[in-house]
């Protein structure tokens, strides 16, 4: 009996003109999935136009009819067998449509790959095979089609099986079966054919029904990329909802959850649903939201995991396999955006290990760029550390896409995390967050009382540009405005907290550690709700990263004073202090625009 709830998405792929449409047309006809009289009507039209009837015409005829509500379209065909419902995703065979193929195939649970018996294995037979593997589809059946054109010759079939199996071996994919079929003649579609007595395996229909429904990954460790933390105060709602879709595992009330890469943790207080009772647990596939016992500050981009389960990887450097769909090649040294889970992070290629043209995987080449439709193994380096899993551990959190000029132009899978230069420091911060004793007064409560958001105003620039003068002026001005503000002189830290590593003279070896400690002290003051003003000479992007690792990076407002800035991303640049009042005015506007202080 058809299980009305069971539905399976199947992608049908293969080289252009290898007969995908014919196979689909035949499947529809042989499973009685066509509207009444359709088959006769198309046959009649062919007869009147003296065209030989083809099952592919059925698809075209149905496409014309979709405007009248028949559930079929260019990309998706619906039909059912006694076992379940199917959506067949018709992936375009033309190379130009690879991105459409990827879009369709990424939601498939199994694949049919069609190879023309007469033409043999072609470019997109391989490329699609590779994409199927990369997209994470584990079940594939290969249809060697148009057997009628090679006189149902077993030798032709066997040689294609050999050639394509060798190819699949190379990319670590195993076909469940190879089927000799003819879409045109209906051989091996719904029934075995007496023209191929040498074949006694499954029909296409049987092989569809033998695909296993993949169970949702509830047994894996809990992973939920945080989409947002909501606090909608309308109608007195006091809840802070951590929202996201559970990729793997389960979470229940009382579970201790850790958010990566920050390492902050809390205990789940309640599971929240609208218009339904609170569930026992949220599990893989659920769009979830929950509240926490302790008010910790986390934001979109963190990944929730459970403290009692293996932690995700955290690193700036990832070894990946990626495919590129941009017409302009992907190049070293250029900035891209990496999206993994809910993180968006600036990224560059550090090293291209090898590039292969997916149509001919035998030739891995050294290249400096990744061209349109290339597949590459490379090392990506992010600006900040991100949380993820290796694809072999958890596939859902081991996938990423690359955005270039507003468009998704590439995608891939993460093989492993590589060590990066800030690992040790991050470990320290995670340890600190782990042991952090949170205040019983929430962050927002404090901000509400002080009528401000905590912020770190970081004034940097060359020597003798008046950083300290500006810092004092900001402190004075904000204090006069009734704000809780503090200018922390650098010497206060240098000769106190840093006394053990402070060396006289221009020695810079301890600068990263100085910055880390400065940031740790800042972090405590920010937690206390203060607007903090700090100066530092000539901060670079890399040095700012150290501070960002320690302090919530969205609380930092870097201001460059003077000319010739370093590579740092500043919120504002001030050429000089010629007109201090005007400068203070523009800094206040910046703080207002960032919501740190209110507009008058």
């Amino acid at each position: 009996m058809t299980n009305k709830n069971e539905q399976m998405n199947i992608v049908i792929a293969g080289h252009v003109d290898h007969g995908k449409s014919t196979v689909i047309g035949r499947l529809l006809a042989d499973t009685d999935s066509l509207p009444k009289g359709k088959l006769a009507q198309v046959k009649e039209t062919c007869r009147r136009n003296s065209k030989p009837f083809e099952y592919a015409f059925l698809l075209d005829a149905l496409k014309d009819e979709q405007s009248q509500g028949i559930t079929i379209d260019a990309a998706r065909v619906f039909f059912k067998t006694p076992k379940r419902h199917y959506i067949i995703i018709d992936a375009p065979g033309h190379i130009e449509f690879l991105k459409n193929m990827v879009t369709g195939a990424s939601h498939a649970e199994a694949a049919l790959l069609v190879i023309d018996a007469e033409e043999g294995v072609r470019e997109n037979s391989r490329r699609h095979g590779y994409m199927i593997s990369m997209l994470g589809i584990r079940q594939m059946v290969v249809l060697v089609n148009k057997m009628d054109l090679v006189n149902y010759d077993q030798q032709v079939f066997d040689s294609i099986v050999r050639e394509y199996t060798a190819f699949l071996d190379g990319i670590g994919l195993t076909a469940k079966a190879f089927l000799p079929v003819s879409g045109m003649q209906g051989d091996t579609i719904a029934a075995l054919s007496d023209k191929m007595p040498w074949y006694t395996g499954q029909t296409v229909l049987e092989s569809l029904d033998s695909f296993q429904k993949e169970a949702l990954p509830v047994d894996k460790p809990f992973r939920m990329p945080v989409q947002d933390v909501y606090k909608f105060t309308k109608a007195g709602d006091k809840r802070r909802l951590v929202a996201g879709t559970v990729d793997t595992g389960t979470v229940s009330v009382g579970d201790e959850v850790v958010f990566y890469p920050s390492g902050k943790r809390s205990i789940v207080k309640s599971l929240e649903r609208f218009n339904a009772p609170s569930p026992k647990e949220f599990s893989a596939g659920n769009a979830a939201s929950f509240t926490l016992q302790q008010q910790i500050y986390i934001a979109r981009g963190q990944m929730a995991a459970r403290a009692d389960q293996p932690a995700p990887q955290v690193s700036k450097r990832l070894r990946v396999n990626l495919f590129w769909m941009g017409k302009k090649p992907m190049e070293k040294g250029k900035d891209y955006i990496l999206k993994v889970g809910t993180v968006k992070e600036p990224v560059r290629i550090e090293e291209i290990t090898s590039v292969m043209d997916a149509s001919d995987l035998s030739s891995a080449r050294q290249k400096d760029s990744i061209d349109y439709h290339d597949v590459a193994e490379c090392i990506l380096c992010c600006q900040h550390a991100v949380a993820f899993d290796a694809i072999d551990d958890i596939s859902a959190t081991g996938r990423f896409v690359i955005v270039d000029e507003y468009e998704i132009r590439g995608g891939g899978i993460i093989r492993e995390a590589l060590a990066d230069d800030q690992q040790q420091m991050r470990q320290q911060v995670m340890q600190r967050n782990l042991k952090w004793t949170g205040s019983s007064i929430g962050r927002e409560q404090r901000w509400e009382r002080y009528n401000q958001k905590a912020a770190l105003i970081l004034i940097t620039g060359k020597r003798n540009t008046g950083k300290k003068t500006l810092a004092r002026a900001i402190e004075q001005q904000l204090f006069a405005d009734g704000k809780t503000v503090y200018f922390m002189g650098i010497a206060n830290v240098l000769y106190g907290v840093d006394a053990d590593i402070k060396k006289p003279g221009p020695d810079q070896t301890h600068r990263p550690e100085h910055l880390r400690r400065l940031a740790e002290v800042s972090n405590i003051l920010l937690d206390a709700g203060v607007i903090l003003v700090v100066t530092a000479i000539g901060l670079t992007k890399k040095e700012l990263e150290i501070i960002q690792n320690v302090v919530d990076s969205d609380l930092i407002e870097p201001i460059w004073l003077g000319e010739e800035p370093t590579d740092i991303d500043f919120a504002m640049k001030i050429p000089d202090l010629a007109d201090l009042d005007e400068t203070l005015g523009s800094i206040k506007t910046l703080l207002q625009n960032k919501g740190i202080i209110f507009k008058p």
Partner: protein, 293 residues
Amino acid sequence: MDHLDHLESLGVHILREAYANFKSLCMLWSIGKDSTVLLWLARKAFGGHVPFPLVHIDTHYKIPEMIEYRDRLTKEWHLDMVYGENREALDTRKTFPDGNADRLTCCKLLKTEALKHTLSGQWPRYRFNHALGRYEVDANTEPFTGVIVGLRADEEGSRSKERYFSPRDRQNEWDIADQPPEFWNQFKTDFAPGTHVRVHPLLDWTELNIWEYIDREKIPTVSLYYDQGDGKRFRSLGCYPCTFPIESQAKNPKDIVEELRSGHLSNIAERSGRAQDAEDGGGLETLRREGYM
């Protein structure tokens, strides 16, 4: 998780992605069943709240029950309700019911043009003032850069080619041949200045799923969808001069589910009561390319 749970979760996920990525976001609410399910999903996504404005294009030829229902839910659910219109076309009577335009032109003027200019903020927007209990001209004329729409892939031809996040260029046009890829759970959430993105959380839903969900969740819907005793009901809602009821005795969502699953509607197109479709060669593609929903 059953199929409806899956559809619900995916819809909620997409709504949350949209909310996180678009500063100026709105949701189109046609008052019909699909966009009402969408509104319900928004309440699911955001803990009962709807944190963005709902935009309705009022052609002033809508069946009166639709407007009553709109304003009732606006008050009950504290919705941030905005409507827009094509004042000029209405004032100069360039409409089909006035006999001065064919159906397609009328749709283009009263819906497509009105929508385009309401979204861009060029034409007045009317926002519901909950304190005063009436609509007033909205001071905010900022263009919406993210527009959530309740269309479904199975409705008719051109809609099946949509993506969950579908870009429109400066001219509001839709380049069907060159759409962005969308895979796993990553969508196009970055956009160049001047362009906007339409978000389609219901793309995978069928008409049957919509009714099963309305039935399961007990979502309030307009009475026009149900037979009130005369053996007729509306299957799809629009302007009264161009929308006709169908023969049906379905009196509640459960009856409709039954009717769609195995009854006399299981093989008849949903929009068969919408006259403008036929004039567009059955495809709606011309209208939609220019921004029709």
